[in-house]
Symmetry: C2
Amino acid sequence: MEKQIHGRRYEERNNKPLFKPCAPNSVLTRLGDKWTILVMSHLALADGHRLRFSELKQGIEGITQRMLTLTLRNLERDGLLIREYFPEVPPRVEYQLTDMGASMLPALEGFTSWIRNNWPSIEECRKTYDQR
Amino acid sequence: MEKQIHGRRYEERNNKPLFKPCAPNSVLTRLGDKWTILVMSHLALADGHRLRFSELKQGIEGITQRMLTLTLRNLERDGLLIREYFPEVPPRVEYQLTDMGASMLPALEGFTSWIRNNWPSIEECRKTYDQR
DNA sequence: CCGTATCCTCCGAGATACTG
DNA sequence: CAGTATCTCGGAGGATACGG
C-alpha cells in the first residue's frame, strides 16, 4: 500500500515505514543551488518582459558568465524558461519564464516565509552547536 | 530601498534590480540533498515518538551509516531535531523532531504539491531537450 | 548498537582565456 | 554580446574497516 506523510510517499513493510530517494527531489536540489532562485526572481520581476543575458548578469551580484549560462540551460531544460536567440550582430538573446516557471516561485512562497521566520532561530542554534 | 518579489529581497541601483546570494538559502540547499527530507519524514511519521538510529537506517532505503550520521548531525545543528544518548550496553540513541523541525515539512507541503503536479511536465521537457 | 576514520570518486563551481 | 573551452580546487557522498 502507498501511504504519505506531508506529501512524501512511503511504503509499509512488516508494519514499518520505508522511504526511498526519488527523482522529483531534483527540483528541490536545483532550487537549493546558489543561483537558480536569483535568476528566476529576476525574470519574475520583469513580469513577462523578456530580459537579455547581460541584464541578468548585471542584476545578479557575483555570478559569472559560465554559471549564468549553466543555470539558464538547466531552467530551459526543465521547461521553466524560454530562450530566444536573435541572429544579429552583435547577437542578442532574451529569456522569459514559461507559465510553469512563473508559477514556481509563488508556490514556494509559503516555505520562503517559514525560512524567514525561523532563520534567526536556526542561526542561533548553529552558533550554539558550533562552540564545542 | 529594500524591495521584494515572491519573498526574495533585492536592491534597486540606477533603476535596475540587484539580487544577491544570501545565507538563508542554505536551508533550501539542505532540503535539496539526498537524505534530509527522508529522515525528517520518517521522524514526522513517528509523531513525537522517538526513533532509534537503527530504525531510521532501516526505514530509509540505501542510506549508509555515515550519511545517516551526517544528515542527523546537520539537522541537530540547525535545531530541527534532538539527539538523546543513553549510555547503556549496547548503547541506544533516540531522535525526535523539535517543534521547529515538526513545523518544517508542513510549511513545505504547498511546494511539494506543486512539484507533484508539474513533475510529469518537467520530465517531458527534459526528454525533449535532451534529444538533440 | 552506534557510530568514527579512511580512502576514493565525482561533480559543483570559480577563474581565466578565447570566439562567432 | 553571449557565450564556449580549460583548468583547478574543494566538498558531497559512497565503500569499507575499525572502535567504545
